[in-house]
Symmetry: C2
Subunit: 189 residues, 2 copies
């Protein structure tokens, strides 16, 4: 943020506004306070009998790796509508949403993932513009080493564990950036 989006002034100061306790971009010209807040990522884990639908990413980040259909919640949208829209956009798939399944905070990148379970309504799916390939996987076929994001791996792991237990729960958690490991530490490990 280099300029005030309200008045166009370059006189932005990053400071704690009066009555606040966090620093914000404040315009010294028109006094507008520019708040920045986390974004919500919504998506789902679509299933067909015992199989799970994954999408191979056609875009960065993580081009070529596998993911569940998910993306940024848009203004004027409910979380359920957003999850279904992303599934349609990325996998051309129509689903009936089940319960909210994982809620994962990513404080290092200021995102909150909200993933639903979902049931594919038909097998008439295929890659949207952001996917190279879309297909169904049995549990033992999941490409664990080729998953795009830790949120996706965690959601899939929770799903298969819950399925073994016979009951899907809600999983609220957080994922933090992995600590950097020096070559010496890695060698010692």
């Amino acid at each position: 943020m280099n300029f005030c989006s309200h008045c166009g002034s370059a006189a932005l100061v990053f400071r704690v506004p009066e009555g606040d306790n966090m620093p914000r971009f404040v315009c010294s010209n028109c006094d507008t306070i520019h708040y920045q807040n986390p974004k919500v990522v919504v998506g789902c884990l679509p299933t067909w009998n015992r199989q799970v639908l994954l999408c191979k990413r056609a875009i960065e980040p993580r081009l070529g790796l596998w993911t569940l259909p998910a993306g940024f919640l848009e203004n004027s949208e409910t979380i359920g509508a957003g999850a279904m829209r992303e599934t349609l956009e990325e996998a051309n798939a129509r689903v009936e949403l089940g319960p909210l399944f994982t809620v994962i905070s990513l404080p290092d990148i200021s995102q909150v993932y909200m993933m639903f379970t979902a049931r594919l309504l038909d097998l008439d799916f295929g890659p949207g513009t952001e996917s190279l390939e879309v297909r169904l996987f049995e549990e033992d076929e999941i490409p664990w080493e080729q998953l795009a994001f830790r949120t996706i791996a965690r959601t899939l792991r929770s799903y298969f564990l819950d399925r073994k237990d016979g009951q899907l729960g809600l999983h609220v958690s957080a994922i933090r950036r992995r600590a950097a490991v020096s070559p010496a530490m890695a060698a010692a490990a």
Copy 2:
């Protein structure tokens, strides 16, 4: 949004960027796309035995009405940490969070509420700068006609119903703006 926050140009156009399907503010000078997304409101329903803690708002909107401690999730924060921070700020109260309890989409104002149940750790609470008064209420004392927001009323109603059933669940829902009712329609109702 009148000016590009990246380059300061006033040449903003509200249009659908290439490869996108929603209109965004796009800078014709530097090509920056300015995405706007929903905000997350986090908070909790603090209890002490059978009583629930409410805060009387000292600020607009809804000054003088009662609410649960809640506010905007900040960057770099998990949803649980945000809920506890808001509870400390608005009620000077320390809580142990319970499970996530309500997730309510408000598409008309592009917000998602996420409320936890919580247990007060002590009775050493009191109004923060955004509250006029903080006190505990038995169920039959709740000022239902003096609640600040429909999200709060829904969270409290769900809590008392679940408590009667002996089990707290997760409640995912949406609240839309009430349709305007003409005086004639109101009279006929």
